[in-house]
């Protein structure tokens, strides 16, 4: 019985209804951001002088390339955040150094495919070594990540100092592209396109295809690695595939847009999305949306301040994360505060009218009145701690009581319970006393401990549960303190009180 009560306390709305709300929230967020972006673009691309044509190609291409890279990073980032490996991107950005040095030593070229392949191999090696180390040594992933990337980078420097001291080989310069370069288009089979998109669009498509193909396995791997391990080899293979996929996408994006953007987009959108939804599909959708908005808004801000676009994209992503921390409907600080406030107001207002009801009962009359400003004193009498409700909550509670018509002012300007208010109050008192009786019969609690528990429960017992309690108690008429339990039926009640 008690477990049943506890489980009912979670006000779980039907899953599908909430899912639809989430989609609408996402759509309106995207629409709002798009409007902001359009306004911002309008402003930053305004021609310097009249007669000069507005140059939209560079901004739009930059945003498109940024979005493509942000979207694929955000999708993979969701899995990394769930697997507590979100810093893999940053680690790879350092760890590729020996790959680049070796590729240069072998090919003698500072540009092109050899360097890219060297980096790619080291990206995969980083992920594999991290996994191997954490499973062989049973250390947490962040520790093994830290050990692997620092060692690999150190190895790279040793190689440089030993063999190519006079080459200008550093990761920033040789491997990493810059997102702004996407603004320069070139001819490609008769089309003017931006070259990075040729690498990033396939990456995005492969990422989406991979996630769709292994949806179920990836889900198990991310949420329950122990179960995944118990389920056998294929899941492990999928996990290694995921890590390889992340390495490839990361290195490809480094080459196209640079590491700042990639590292940020692997972590921030996914972490924000994790606050916004508990369902994986929804989380991925949010992460993509946040990534794309970061890319677009980041470009606008970067252009407005004439500074690094990649840096601004990371900052915008951080801003959105902050918004999610505060305003997420599920777990945001503001929404938590609001929910607590509403609950406190409801409980306070219910406590007040329950107190009025008890006073009426005690005085055997319907005429007990209080001044609304005296809510505080009445609350004390009705049993809530004086300090539990702030003046603001009490003020809202008194407003709610008046607004719902639970009390009305008499000729002397004092509030009395109306019939509607009395019905509500009676139900509360009934719940309170039923619960006390239930606790008294089923648990070996001292009598003076009953009241506090019931004081909390009375606000959460719905009629169904009350009926169950009533049946269980088989029509006991008075509570352990000897007070009458008001009947559920109102018609009986008003007569019985007024006699």
């Amino acid at each position: 019985m008690s477990t049943a009560v506890a489980s009912r306390q979670s006000f779980a709305a039907p899953q599908t209804a909430w899912a639809w709300n989430e989609w609408w929230l996402l759509a309106s967020y995207l629409a709002m951001s798009l409007a902001l972006v359009v306004i911002g673009l309008e402003w930053v691309t305004r021609p310097a002088a009249s007669g000069v044509p507005r140059d939209l190609a560079a901004p739009l291409w930059t945003i498109a390339v940024g979005s493509a890279s942000a979207a694929s990073c955000a999708i993979l980032g969701c899995y990394l955040v769930l697997r507590r490996m979100s810093l893999l991107g940053d680690a790879i950005s350092h760890a590729v150094l020996p790959g680049i040095v070796i590729a240069y030593l072998l090919s003698g070229q500072l540009t092109g495919w050899p360097i890219f392949i060297g980096a790619l191999v080291l990206g995969v090696v980083t992920a594999a070594l991290t996994q191997g180390l954490s499973s062989l040594g049973r250390v947490s992933e962040d520790t093994s990540l830290g050990i692997v990337f620092t060692s690999l980078f150190a190895l790279g420097v040793v190689l440089i100092q030993g063999w190519v001291r006079h080459a200008d080989l550093d990761v920033d310069c040789v491997l990493q592209g810059q997102i702004d370069f996407a603004g320069v288009t070139q001819e490609f089979y008769g089309w003017q396109i931006s070259r990075p998109i040729l690498a990033l669009l396939p990456t995005l498509v492969v990422t989406i295809g991979f996630v769709a193909l292994f949806w179920k396995e990836l889900k198990i791997v991310s949420f329950d690695p122990a179960l995944a391990a118990a389920m056998g080899v294929r899941v492990a293979v999928v996990h290694y595939l995921l890590m390889a996929m992340v390495s490839v996408a990361t290195v490809a994006s480094f080459e196209a847009v640079g590491s700042i953007l990639v590292v940020a987009m692997l972590i921030v959108p996914a972490a924000a999305a994790d606050l916004l939804s508990s369902r994986l599909s929804m989380m991925i959708a949010w992460a993509m949306a946040i990534g794309i908005v970061s890319a677009a808004l980041g470009y606008v801000l970067g252009a407005a301040l004439d500074t690094s676009v990649a840096g601004m994209m990371a900052v915008v992503a951080g801003g959105q994360f902050a918004l999610a921390v505060v305003f997420s409907p599920r777990s945001g600080l503001a929404s938590r505060w609001l929910r607590n406030l509403l609950l406190a107001v409801r409980i306070t207002s219910e406590d007040v009218i329950a107190g009025l009801y008890r006073a009426e009962e005690r005085d055997q009359a319907t005429g007990v009145s209080i001044e609304l400003s005296g809510v505080r004193g009445e609350s004390t009498r009705s049993g809530i701690d004086e300090h539990s409700a702030s003046p603001f909550v009490r003020w809202l509670a008194s407003w709610r009581i008046a607004h719902l018509g639970w009390t009305a002012k008499d000729r002397l300007g004092q509030a009395r319970l109306t019939d509607a208010g009395r019905t509500v109050a009676r139900k509360l008192v009934r719940a309170h006393r039923l619960w006390e009786t239930y606790l008294d019969t089923h648990f070996d609690l001292p009598r003076d401990h009953l009241h506090d528990a019931a004081e909390r429960m009375e606000h959460f017992l719905d009629p169904e549960l009350q009926a169950e309690l009533d049946a269980e108690l088989a029509g006991v008429a008075t509570d352990p303190h000897g007070k009458q339990i008001p009947p559920a039926d109102s018609a009986v009640d008003s007569s019985s009180l007024e006699k």
């Binding site: 350092h94 050990i147 620092t150 700042i260 972590i267 994790d274 500074t307």
Partner: protein, 429 residues
């Protein structure tokens, strides 16, 4: 004698200074970093070295020139802001440590890069070349003054750890429980992470990003393989950090073309690998050996139990059974069965007889009884109380008696005796 030693010291002044600086830094960072590793925040060092950039840029913007102390103060300020946000996110939202660290790393670094971009395009604000790497030192650049600074900061960190040892211990192992005791978890956590931030800010201008990240992680992670006690762990981490510095610097001094910082990092990695393999608490070899020992004794018990069951099914007429019968009850290959029997024979538990039969020795008989009893008690327990299996566990436990309350074990035994399935020693043939 002393004269010649002093002369040698002067001849190798840089080596001595680097050795002192790096080993002290290794010890200090190792101790402080051990906490970060325990709290699953091993990458805080890496994150903070990126997060320092906006502070550096702001200090430059305010002063209009490259001034190392001011820029380090800026780095410290943005580092502490960074750890404050990390701790707050972990404490009050459901964002986890690694994601919080990653967010600070990428967003602060992004902000720093954006500020750099703005500075790059400003007119005359002094010399801004190499701003982003300005506060990053190289190990070989450690000077005498640096050594004193490192020594002083290490002493302060150590003092803080000694004074607040109990608080740090509680927060590192069970933050939630500590919270429920009413301790100011956030403040303690923030203080602990500020020590890490201080280590990073001392480390950046002396040894650079990668090496300070490594020195914070490797000693603590390596020490974890040797002990479960925090006090021992801290001493060990400090010691390993110190050794890392000494060995790495000496290597770089002995051989040509070995860059100091990277060699120290690789030395730390080697120490970590050795600890991971050899550590007697959690090391891989110790674990694999224990697993193998356990597996062997488990198989041996299985063999004895199977022999007992075969003898039981023959009505206890004789103490030997044909070896091939073993295969009918277990999924062993003939070769596996042969190997098991041989190993058990070496241990003096069974006696291979001519004609392909296997007999139990007296010792083997006693152990077979025990193994079968344990197995049947466990079986009955699972059948009677399946819902409690998870709370007692260890399916393959050596002795059920250790895991079941005596009353329960007696009750189960009575059931088995009633069913005639309790292996009793007196029926021995």
């Amino acid at each position: 004698m002393i004269e010649s030693a002093l002369h040698a010291l002067r001849e190798n002044y840089n080596f001595v200074v680097i050795l002192c600086g790096v080993s002290l830094l290794g010890a200090g960072a190792g101790i402080v970093g051990a906490f970060a590793v325990l709290r699953k925040r091993a990458l805080t060092g890496d994150a903070l070295s990126h997060a320092a950039l906006p502070g550096v840029c702001l200090a430059f913007l305010v002063l209009g020139e490259r001034n190392l102390p001011a820029m380090l103060l800026g780095a410290l300020a943005s580092g502490i802001l960074g750890v404050a946000i990390i701790s707050a996110l972990v404490r009050w939202t459901r964002v986890r440590d690694d994601a919080a660290i990653g967010i600070i790393l990428s967003v602060f670094f992004g902000l720093g890069i954006a500020l750099m971009g703005i500075i790059q395009r400003m007119g005359s604000v002094g010399n801004k070349a190499g701003l982003s790497s300005f506060i990053l030192g190289k190990t070989t650049g450690i000077t005498g003054a640096d050594v004193w600074i490192i020594l002083a900061s290490a002493a302060i960190c150590l003092a803080a750890i000694v004074v607040l040892y109990k608080e740090f211990l509680a927060v590192s192992f069970d933050a939630d429980f500590t919270q429920s005791l009413g301790w100011p978890v956030y403040a303690i956590d923030l203080l602990l992470m500020s020590l890490v931030a201080a280590a990073v800010v001392i480390g950046l201008p002396t040894v650079g990003v990668i090496m300070i990240s490594a020195l914070l992680i490797m000693p603590g992670a390596a020490a974890r393989f040797w002990t479960d006690r925090l006090s021992t762990l801290l001493v060990l981490a400090g010691g390993l950090g110190f050794v890392t510095g000494v060995v790495g610097t000496t290597l770089s001094y002995t051989f040509d073309k070995l860059p100091a910082g990277p060699v120290i990092v690789l030395t730390g990695a080697a120490l970590f690998l050795l600890s991971m393999l050899l550590g007697h608490r959690r090391g891989a070899i110790a674990r694999i050996l224990a697993h193998r020992r356990f597996r062997r004794s488990w198989q041996e018990r299985q063999l004895l139990r199977t022999l007992y069951e075969l003898i039981e099914s023959s009505g206890f007429r004789q103490r030997s059974v044909p070896q091939d019968d073993l295969l009918s009850l277990r999924a062993w290959s003939p070769a596996e069965a042969q190997k098991l029997v041989q190993e058990a024979a070496v241990a003096g538990l069974v006696l291979p007889l001519p004609g392909g039969r296997v007999a139990l020795t007296d010792q083997g008989w006693q152990q077979a009884l025990e193994a079968t009893r344990g197995h049947r008690l466990w079986q009955t327990f699972l059948a009677e109380y399946p819902e409690q299996a998870g709370s007692v566990v260890n399916l393959a436990s050596v002795s059920v008696d250790d895991h079941l309350p005596p009353a329960l074990s007696d009750e189960l035994q009575a059931k088995l005796v009633a069913a005639g399935r309790w292996p009793a020693s007196e029926v021995a043939p």
